[in-house]
């Protein structure tokens, strides 16, 4: 019995949900300063086109 739940199939899901969120937090913190990339011309061109041709179309 874990947290008042008898069936391991259910308490495991309850705990894994919390563990999953903790994993995301841990991953985010460990990699907080990793993966920074300089913005390239194609990124900016993409964003400009997104603004003029997609966002303005709606």
């Amino acid at each position: 019995m874990v947290l008042g739940i008898e069936d391991p199939g259910v308490w495991l899901a309850y705990l894994l949900s919390i563990a999953g969120a903790a994993l995301c937090v841990g991953y985010g913190i460990v990699n907080w300063n990793k993966g920074e990339e300089p913005v390239q011309k194609e990124d900016v061109d993409w964003a400009k086109e997104e603004k003029t041709e997609v966002e303005d179309a709606v």
């Binding site: 008042g4 739940i5 999953g20 990793k34 993966g35 993409w46 997104e50 603004k51 966002e55």
Partner: protein, 633 residues
């Protein structure tokens, strides 16, 4: 509505309007940040992504499903977090962003078209999105209307129309632009609303362990129709197995619930999220891998508080309804009769004045009541009568007190539902009954936020699918005013179709419609999307085959094999004179196996086999797709 509620609603509308105004002034969409070479605050980005991901469908529809199926639905939360956030953000997000920017793709069908150099793929993907996304939009709209109706004491139809008008106003006011601050505010409201709901529910039921134990102790109250399909209590997984071929009910249906829970709800939605076009496009608006890393942290917490809370509270509502619910009201009739039809399985209807003795004998007894302050013309509320029902009559002008002592599903039984109830109404009913009225209004704003942020992205995706991905391809039209008209027309069609479907297919539809759309997207798009990101050998023929195999297998399965959808759509009955085509010698369990179980593996297999059996794409083009220079025509 009381004063506090009015103040809350006005404050919310003013805040939305103000942030929308700021959005217009400074136009802070995700693309603006990128143009400026900056990234949005990771919490803002995660809230914005989460608000798009989670809608009234998840909270009202799947929360209601948890009230019926129990806490096993939490496996969907596990997948929502591990797959929908962790895998999506850490593995798929950055390659999608890089490929999208490099190929200058702005919609999911366009990304596919440019990856495989195929206009046909773009049109096919867009048509699937345009034709089937209204199903998901309908689920979101129904979720909002089911909640709004009891809170404001208006009819379901009126709530649906009001909801559609609010959505249309939001769209006209520029809500589709995806102003990050508005999305993030909506995400923030959702977080606060769900956190209060969780704490208040555990508080009401005496604590975490106590609440779960009380729910576990109710397993002997599982109604017969759920027990028959394998329900073993709300804190236990359903019975697992696969019925023997040819075995008729009851043995033939003994494992139905496990397959509905795991294959449709958990897998269909949990995996399907990876292939949601409106979420895939979100990755392209991110500045760098670093932004995704940071957003993953907030995203995991956000999803836990959305679906985790909705499913837990949904299941625990059984304890509240069964043991704690006390309704101060005016009892109108403690022996009102509703007729479930000759076989007892029809929709409950009022008895005609000249009802025969036979009809009266099969009719079900209900208590009808009105809440304090409701006029004599207000619609009646219904509670099924059982031998546990308690009524304490008030002296003089004092209110009567009704204690229905019903489990959640039976609490939702009333006129227009079958004796199996309508789980879509359970979360609204729980919040209205168990929480103070001001929280009902806060929660409505939570749901409104959840619906707005999701629907704006749905209509954006539907609009661009028809305008940019279909019309511009056929018309060979440069992006321009005609295409904008088609996009806007598509959005209006999407809203109207969702509204009409919501009006006519009410009752236990939210989770089903969402699962169908997510499953269809997964089977059709996931292999060509994921393999396209990582496998250079994947080519146009393989992508087309995979798309067609996944889509057709899903569609045929839904139309002719799955008992619920084939029976509901009725095409199989009309063509073949029977509700589904599963042969009598086969296991009845096949009728509840979700299409994703068959269609997704087939779609992946088709992609791999055809890719290996056909010629690879032009190496220069493949090089371009994965970051190289654009080949000369």
């Amino acid at each position: 509505m009381d004063l506090i509620s009015i103040i809350l609603v006005i404050f919310y509308l003013m805040l939305t309007g103000y942030l929308g105004y700021l959005g217009y002034q400074r136009t802070k969409t995700a693309a603006d940040y990128l143009v400026a070479g900056r990234s949005a605050n990771p919490i803002v980005m995660a809230l914005s992504y989460g608000a798009t991901f989670i809608s009234t469908s998840a909270i009202v529809g799947f929360g209601g499903a948890a009230a019926s199926l129990g806490m096993g639905v939490l496996w969907l939360t596990v997948l929502n977090i591990f797959v929908g956030i962790f895998i999506a953000f850490t593995f798929l997000g950055n390659p999608t962003r890089r490929m999208g920017h490099h190929l200058d793709a702005h919609t999911f069908p366009e990304l596919v078209a440019k990856r495989y150099d195929s206009r046909a793929l773009q049109v096919l993907c867009a048509l699937i999105i345009f034709c089937f996304m209204p199903l998901y939009a309908m689920a979101v709209m129904v979720g909002g209307a089911e909640f709004m109706a009891p809170i404001f004491r208006i009819s379901y139809d009126a709530a649906l129309y009001i909801f559609a008008v609010i959505v249309a106003a939001y769209v006209i006011a520029g809500g589709l632009k995806g102003v990050m601050l508005t999305d993030a505010m909506q995400g923030g409201i959702m977080l606060v609303g769900m956190a209060i709901l969780l704490v208040a529910t555990y508080g009401l039921l005496g604590g975490v362990t106590e609440a779960h134990s009380a729910l576990g102790a109710m397993k002997d109250q599982v109604p017969g129709f759920l027990k028959a399909i394998g329900h073993q209590g709300w804190t236990a997984m359903p019975t697992f197995g696969f019925a023997e071929p040819g075995l008729a009910p009851p043995g033939g249906v003994a494992y139905h619930m496990w397959w509905i829970l795991i294959s449709t709800i958990v897998m269909g939605v949990g995996i399907g999220v990876l292939a949601q076009p409106q979420l895939i496009v979100r990755f392209m608006t991110v500045k760098s891998k670093q932004s995704l890393n940071r957003a993953a942290a907030a995203g995991g917490i956000f999803i836990l508080f959305m679906t985790g809370v909705a499913f837990t509270v949904g299941a625990l509502s059984n304890v509240y309804f069964s043991q704690k619910e006390q309704i101060a009201c005016r009892i109108v009739d403690d022996a009102a009769l509703l007729d479930p039809g000759p076989d007892g399985k029809g929709k409950l209807a009022q008895l005609p004045a000249n009802a025969s003795d036979e009809v009266k004998a099969r009719a079900k007894r209900f208590v009808t009541y009105r809440l304090p302050g409701a006029s004599d013309e207000a619609p009646l509320n219904y509670a099924l009568w059982t031998d546990k029902t308690e009524i304490v009559r008030g002296e003089g002008d004092a209110d009567d007190v009704l204690k229905p002592h019903l489990i959640a599903v039976l609490r939702s039984v009333g006129p227009g539902t079958t004796m199996q109830g309508n789980t879509d109404t359970l979360i609204p009913a729980y919040v209205r009954s168990a929480m103070p009225h001001w929280f009902g209004v806060v929660f409505m704003l939570t749901l409104l936020s959840a619906a707005m942020s999701t629907m704006s992205s749905q209509f954006h995706t539907m609009g661009t699918a028809l305008g940019r991905d279909v019309f511009e391809q056929f018309a060979r039209h440069e992006h321009g005013s005609k295409s904008i008209h088609v996009t806007r027309f598509a959005i209006v069609v999407g809203i109207v179709v969702a509204l009409v479907m919501g009006k006519y297919v009410r009752g236990n539809v939210i989770a089903l419609a969402t699962a169908i759309f997510f499953g269809l997207c997964a089977s059709s798009f996931l292999p060509l999307f994921v393999l396209g990101l990582f496998w250079k050998r994947m080519n146009k023929a393989a992508a087309l085959t995979s798309l067609l195999v996944g889509f057709l297998t899903s569609a045929l399965w839904l139309l002719f094999v799955n008992g619920k959808t084939a029976g509901g759509i009725g095409l199989c009955q009309a063509w073949f004179g029977k509700p589904n085509l599963v042969p009598a010698t086969w296991s009845l369990t096949w009728t509840v196996v979700d299409p994703i179980v068959v269609a997704l593996p087939l779609s992946f297999l088709a992609a791999v086999v055809v890719a290996l059996a056909t010629r690879p794409m032009d190496p220069a083009y493949v090089d371009y797709v994965y970051g190289g220079p654009k080949p000369k025509a």
